[in-house]
Symmetry: C2
Subunit: 405 residues, 2 copies
């Protein structure tokens, strides 16, 4: 671990069992943790403006190095004020490394696979060659040949000007065997060192770098990786790669891995963010979470709701809703719940899907923001276990938060 408060200071303000609340002091202001990070993959949270995202209370968003590298290009974003200026977002930004996406081209849809669902097409996607130096691939936009390795990823992230950069890694999928995962994790470690060397020589002074712990579902590989990354000059740690085939295995691997990481380090659990996963991660000392689920669910007509028996999901398309005059989720302060009935949202999902998708995006992000802000309050009051159990028992996460917007 590096310790440079000039580029990132993590202040743990409250501890409650394994959970903690804190403040991540970035170059673009503090981020209260535990935090959920909305995805601004292509420089925008889909259907929302930057000011709406800030208004909901989010202090940190995630931009995508791979997509922004291909369009509009890192130099263009740098010219236009960096990612903050480009998209009009004044708070903190973390950028992923692009590793997840370039390897997705080879592994198939890694997004599904890190949760254990095998989805790869096996066709190799747009990958031309994977080697020690990095990954050569074809752009999905124009078929042009592009290359990304550790130095290229850090160069792009430096140009984007994110507050937190993530090192270039391979996100190992669930279907990879132990041998592949071991070799991949070792290469990821060599890439970590190259990323840090590049950043030390060329990176923006105020940009923090998080290392990524890989190792798949293998306890010993996770331990080796945790030790390697913690020994490096990183400002924080992320947990990447597959954690298992199902929630139970995922929570198990997480329960083994999280305690291997230095207590004082800010910790990012990559790509995980369903309500029960957030609650489990927070209990294990995870500080920030990003996930496509809330926005993707919204596009498919699903609202997050205090329904633990239905994976916290409420299907707006259910025929029974056509005459239901209740709000989508009682008590939720989001614009969808505050102003509209289930019947109207059910109708909109078919008649005006753009409107429905936007309203459900506002709702789902509000739900998760309230879930983590409730967790912060509970940790501060020493009641995190009770809070977690209440949510897992079907309580709404906004009980303690009084101000609607």
């Amino acid at each position: 671990m590096r310790n440079d408060p000039g580029r990132l200071r993590f202040e743990i303000t409250n501890v409650d069992g394994g959970a903690r609340a804190g403040l991540l002091h970035t170059a673009h202001g503090p981020v209260s943790t535990p935090a959920f990070i909305p995805l601004a993959t292509r420089g925008a949270v889909r259907t929302l403006t930057a000011s709406e995202v800030a208004h909901m209370g989010f202090e940190l968003i995630l931009g995508n190095t791979f997509h922004l590298f291909l369009s509009p290009g890192a130099e263009r974003v740098a010219e236009l004020g960096g990612l903050h200026g480009f998209m009009g977002w004044e708070r903190a930004i973390v950028t992923d490394s692009g590793g997840f996406q370039v390897f997705s081209l080879a592994h198939g849809n890694v997004a599904d696979e890190i949760k254990g669902r095998r989805g790869g097409s096996g066709s190799g996607g747009g990958v031309i060659e994977i080697g020690e130096r990095g990954v050569a691939f074809r752009s999905y936009l124009d078929g042009s040949k592009r290359f990304m390795g550790p130095e290229e990823s850090m160069t792009v992230q430096a140009a984007l000007g994110s507050d937190i950069a993530l090192v270039f890694d391979e996100c190992t999928p669930y279907h990879a065997d132990r041998d592949y995962t071991a070799r991949s994790t070792e290469r990821t470690h060599r890439w970590l060192d190259r990323c840090l060397a590049w950043h030390e020589a060329n990176g923006p002074l105020s940009q923090a770098v998080f290392g990524i712990v890989q190792g798949g579902v293998h306890d010993d590989l996770r331990r080796e990786s945790a030790e390697w990354v913690a020994a490096a000059a990183v400002d924080g740690l992320a947990i990447g790669g597959t954690l298992g085939r199902d929630k139970s295995e995922m929570h198990g691997v997480l329960a083994l891995t999280a305690p291997m990481l230095p207590r004082e380090a800010p910790k990012h659990l990559l790509g995980i963010g369903e309500p029960d996963d957030l609650l489990a991660g927070i209990e294990l000392g995870i500080d920030v979470f990003d996930c496509a689920v809330p926005t993707r669910l919204a596009r498919h007509g699903m609202a997050l709701a205090p329904l633990p028996d239905s994976r916290f999901r409420f299907d707006v398309d259910r025929a029974a809703l056509a005459r239901d005059e209740r709000p989508l989720v009682e008590g939720c302060p989001c614009p969808a719940c505050a102003a509209h009935t289930r019947a109207y949202l059910h109708y909109l999902a078919r008649a005006e899907p753009a409107n429905a998708g936007r309203l459900l995006t506002l709702h789902n992000l509000t739900f998760l923001e309230r879930l983590v802000s409730g967790a912060r309050e509970a940790i501060g009051a020493g009641g995190y276990t009770a809070y977690k159990e209440a949510i897992l028992g079907g309580a709404a996460p906004w009980g303690a938060v009084a101000t609607p917007y």
Copy 2:
């Protein structure tokens, strides 16, 4: 003309040449005129919430009888609080009659044709039969046989609970010959009488009814129609049907038709709303305008701008914008112009079209709202001609309006 201030009172507050400013007092509050009416075709302005539309300053929106009749159905909307309650809009609503849409099924895309561009496929679309009683057609949603005539249209509009209903008419296309237009206009007059009879016996007491003047591009037919409609017990008049092949013919037909209508009547020019058309219509005493152009342009990456030589359109897709750090339109108070650069909007139009379409919708509606509020101010100050000439010369419509939102 009927004169029942209990269901609609039109107060002319200022006159400036042929133009006038006024207040249309509806059951859901006053509407300052001249006004532009955003389309909430299926019970929502696409990509916007009702509160955003109100926040922009609009006091009247248009709901579509044909679409809401097919889904979710008039009874369902009535059950759910009428169209106001259903969509969460507390201000005034006008509903069109559905005539435009059911005849579109026969005439092809009447939206293009009323401006003279022949677009009909000639296949008859989903129309089964057009007769004196009304139009039988197949639903585009499920192929079911449906019927709409004057009584059906008024029944649906009564259930929707709009503040202003429009009578069921045939919107004659430009390619219709004089003989067809004459016979169609006579039938529209018989339908007007049936609409009023139904409404007198069954309509909501607070719902006003506007008659529609047809007659195509034929001076004598327009005059006959204007006289017929003005003699009926309507609360206001709308001008429908084709006005000509191009802007010049359109403005000519409008200049002949508008003065045929009673001065004291509120006047709605149907389906017309480009900036120069608004300015010409206002000069001729038109009070309200609805048009799909601002929202449709937004979906196609076009912003309204003070560019009279380019039909007031600014193409966000132009390559030169990729590095342009200026706001979309200097001085515009909309969220797109206030927070973002041309370069970002140009990028979003390709990378996140849902976000770009929404921002451009906010912009285009703001542009037209400022255009008509500027006109109201100018009329109040006796300077409408100068205002019109300034806008046609490239002035921005928000000069006089200081408060951004």
